[in-house]
Symmetry: C2
């Protein structure tokens, strides 16, 4: 079986670390692993398949001879290095927002729009969607295929992990400070996140939506291939460690009953239906942490709208929302013999 | 000035305790205070205006000579004792769900539907709405009066306090257990609430909505006097101590711009607008705890719907969501010279 040289840029972050774990778990055919990070991480060592590998500084030379580069080091690093890597024939799978709206860059969730991947050769870059978008769209795809979604109203409950490893640490630290009766200090988040909710994820735009909220709009349209799909979202940070939850209300052209929705969702790859409310079965972030699928529950016909349907989707932000989806994109390229 | 004999049933609970505090803070004209609770609380003492008063067992005799009885001891206690108290001429303000749908019982938010209070004489009972309903409706009222709301889609982020003092303690205990590296134990909530979200508040009904979600539907229609208003809600418990937050999306008959909404909300009693997102000004439960008003922010025109508007409302569940609203109802009766 063919194997590949894989660079991971941003390897010391929460998503980078999870990428190594997932490459191992899924027996991704790695020939050589090249862990890359910024100057700050010089001297760090990562362990991959039992082997200790020193972290290298990300540079213009880093991608020579690499087949894949998984980027998770922020949009500015991606903008600087991803095109270079691509020009050298290395396929970049980029977890940042840098190229998601680029018409020459496919934006892929393998379960949702695998066909769109064939266009990757223009820049040798494939973009990994925003984590909240992934957790929202995976369950919407089979519903859209059946009943055609006209409008989506979403409210998110986003874990600290979406802001990185330091943000998760900040939540843990604040909780400990509280337990020990000390003052809770905020640094990564603009305000205390323990026992609190922050209705801001990313910066605000001219229309008073946050960029995170508009990413859900822009990316959903691109991934679904529906430029006119109507979407509104409110994105909120909650004191949860690593799984994102979304309360989603949709209106469809064709009525979708609860039973039909359960049937469609149960048959869809990447979705686990957990929906038996009378027995207190519904998805919760604490239990979905570390899981691969999007967990969907609270499925019900909307009493306020003839063709409305409401559901609750929870997905591990670091796995399906980031690292896992990126590696599934690489697997898809291999499966389709595009690499 | 006339003063009144006030009984507080359920005085040892989170809401009962807050009622005493608010009666003091607002200089409510209390002649005699009678603290009432169940057998379990015998021997407990409450402090009111510096005076120590022993808690009495709630009984059929408790309401003789009382002018007001503030009930916050659960629906079954209210069903048993509120009608008795009412028959003896004592005006019951009931914080439970027992009488909210009774056509002979007004359901009142003083800022929203003060006029409806005049019907209270049929049973001498006035119902206090559900806490999440209050936090949602207070800001909707001026928007409805201006633009006529057709549909509401709400997702709640409900604090532990909504399940009582023991539930708040459970969240604090779990956080401490986590900080000390011990197992987190659930008791009041069906699952761990620290670092988690539970998409269940109250029991589930045949339409797969929870009772809490349907309370928002039923109570909003009754309070607004709009039996055909279309509402859907998803209610979620979050690891926050005592303020509820709601992400609310509305469609109106007449377009409401962001500026108009801010103007209407700023002028409405009981609402504080906190909306300057570029400067990170928006309501958060940690800072709204202990406050009287509903704090409203993230106000914006919905990009998915021509006459849509989206906002984020946060209110202290124990105060405006329960104890304060009950006492404001009593004040309204006095103000209108109905007592």
């Amino acid at each position: 079986m063919k194997s590949y040289n894989v660079a991971v840029a941003g390897v010391t972050g929460a998503v980078g670390q999870e990428m190594l774990k997932i490459l191992e778990e899924r027996n991704f055919p790695v020939k050589q692993l090249k862990p890359l990070a910024s100057q700050r991480s010089v001297g760090k060592i990562v362990t991959f398949r039992g082997e200790k590998i020193p972290v290298e500084i990300l540079s213009t030379e880093s991608f020579q001879g690499m087949d894949f580069a998984l980027f998770s080091a922020g949009a500015s690093i991606s903008k600087e290095f991803a095109p270079l890597a691509g020009q050298e024939g290395c396929i970049v799978i980029d977890n940042s927002s840098a190229f998601r709206q680029d018409p020459d860059v496919p934006l892929i969730i393998p379960e949702v729009n695998p066909g769109a991947i064939v266009d990757f050769r223009k820049k040798n870059i494939i973009a990994n969607p925003n984590c909240t978008t992934i957790v929202t769209i995976v369950p919407l795809k089979p519903l859209h295929d059946y009943g055609r979604i006209k409008r989506v109203v979403a409210s998110s409950y986003q874990a600290a992990s979406g802001a990185g490893a330091k943000a998760m640490q900040e939540l843990e630290d604040q909780v400990k400070e509280y337990a020990f009766g000390r003052e809770m200090v905020a640094g990564v988040f603009p305000y205390q996140i323990a026992f609190n909710l922050i209705p801001q994820v990313d910066v605000f735009l001219d229309n008073f939506y946050s960029k995170e909220e508009m990413k859900m709009v822009w990316e959903t349209r691109k991934i679904m291939g529906e430029p006119d799909l109507q979407i509104t979202a409110t994105c909120v940070r909650v004191p949860v460690l690593r799984a994102h939850s979304v309360s989603v209300n949709i209106e469809t052209e064709k009525k979708i009953t609860r039973d039909k929705a359960i049937e469609l969702l149960s048959a869809f790859p990447g979705v686990t239906v957990q929906d038996d409310p009378a027995n207190r079965v519904y998805p919760m972030p604490w239990l979905v942490s570390g899981k691969d699928n999007c967990y969907v529950g609270r499925i019900r016909e909307d009493i306020s709208c003839p063709n409305g349907l409401t559901l609750w989707s929870v997905g591990d932000q670091i796995r399906k929302g980031a690292a896992l989806n990126a590696i599934q994109i690489a697997e898809l390229l291999i499966e389709k013999k595009l690499v």
